[in-house]
């Protein structure tokens, strides 16, 4: 069986509250990162507070509806990002949240590699039927990466985010199990 935790550029590791809080302190100072990743107001938290927050999330590590990972590069073992899956157990679908905090790793295929691992884990280990995500329309790099990983654009909520004095759309994407399997067989266009 293949190693589900290792991609071409990155590997998945457990989310360790100490190291995760340490990098988050730096990432949160990059407001562009925050605005691409989230629609909450950008905020600043101390490393201590962040560590407590991640420790609390660690306790969810045994829940069947919650899976979190840290992502490290293969060549330098640098902690560059994260992703998490939230399952709806009854309807057997998952939402994914994903991000790369280190700017120098944007636009180089790391995100696509992470998402491939994420989908492989969701479809072959969690056995979900579909995976969903949302993104800001002002994040075309993410849109392109998700499309490469196999997501299809399914909808758009117009003007639901207010930032920098104007309103922006949110986009909603999804991938179905059979679509993903077809991609693995090399049948995708």
């Amino acid at each position: 069986m293949r190693n589900l935790f290792r991609g071409e550029l990155v590997r998945l590791t457990a989310e360790e509250p100490g190291s995760r809080a340490k990098v988050e302190v730096h990432w949160q100072r990059d407001t562009e990162f925050h605005r691409l990743a989230d629609s909450d107001p950008a905020g600043m938290e101390s490393e201590k507070k962040l560590k407590e927050w991640f420790e609390k999330r660690n306790e969810e590590g045994f829940k069947p509806e919650r899976y979190s990972f840290s992502v490290r590069t293969l060549d330098e073992d640098k902690l560059i990002g994260f992703f998490g899956l939230w399952l709806d157990l009854i309807h057997n679908e998952a939402w994914v949240g994903i991000g790369i905090g280190e700017r120098e790793f944007w636009g180089k295929g790391y995100g696509t590699d992470m998402m491939k691992l994420c989908l492989q884990y969701a479809f072959t280990e969690l056995n979900v039927y579909r995976v969903s995500l949302g993104l800001h329309a002002y994040n075309p790099r993410a849109l392109r990466s998700y499309e490469k990983a196999g997501f299809r654009l399914e909808g758009c909520t117009r003007g639901d985010v207010a930032r920098e004095g104007r309103r922006h759309d949110s986009l909603w994407m999804g991938i179905l199990r059979e679509e993903w399997i077809q991609m693995q067989n090399g049948d995708s266009k």
Binding site: P64, E65, L87, L89, H91, N127
Partner: protein, 189 residues
């Protein structure tokens, strides 16, 4: 859509720890009830202890334990309990256990009726893939009832229990989603 909590002669209802512990403590006084229910050494617990146990059960570590009281439709009496415990969300298998407390309610079809209700809940509401149970060799009434509800024999732990000077097998039974659908979907729609 149908009322999925009602069968022909019984219905599922919420577990009230007070009512339940009072009734269960009474049922426990019948050692045969306890031996049909449980493979461990039977014991008598106080109403308070049983109440505490039930309150703990109902807290649940995560969404996956569905505990119901069984009530008769004719006179709304609390006559038993049934539990569906999702043991593995990624394979979507659950374990079911049920009991009817008073001897006068045995052999009257209540067990089969409530199992039919529970299977409908498991397959059409929780969307499970299969349901599993175990039953003791010395409980032919239950085995017959589970067969009627659609369970198939899948294996047995030989000489698993030691009771009344001899050893008894524990039977494994299961029903898969497709099997249940084939038998029930037409009448369900």
């Amino acid at each position: 859509m149908n009322d999925i909590f009602s069968g022909k002669s019984v219905r599922l209802s919420a577990v009230d720890p007070d009512d339940f512990s009072r009734m269960f403590t009474r049922w426990s006084q019948d050692s045969e009830y306890m031996r049909l229910l449980n493979g461990n050494a039977i014991r008598l617990n106080s109403i308070a202890a049983n109440k505490k146990w039930m309150e703990k059960e109902l807290e649940g570590p995560s969404s996956g334990l569905y505990f119901f009281s069984i009530r008769s439709l004719a006179d709304d009496q609390l006559i038993g309990e049934i539990v569906l415990d999702v043991s593995n969300w990624t394979s979507r298998d659950a374990f079911v256990g049920l009991s009817l407390g008073e001897r006068e309610n045995w052999g009257r079809g209540y067990g089969t009726d409530v199992m039919n209700v529970l299977l409908r809940f498991a397959f059409t509401e929780v969307n499970l893939r299969r349901v599993t149970l175990v039953v003791f060799e010395y409980n032919p009434r239950a085995i017959r009832s589970y067969e009627k509800a659609g369970f198939r024999h899948e294996g047995r732990y030989r000489k698993f229990l030691n009771r009344e000077g001899r050893r008894w097998d524990m039977l494994l039974m299961g029903i898969q989603r497709e099997e249940w659908m084939e038998q029930n979907m037409e009448s369900h729609q």
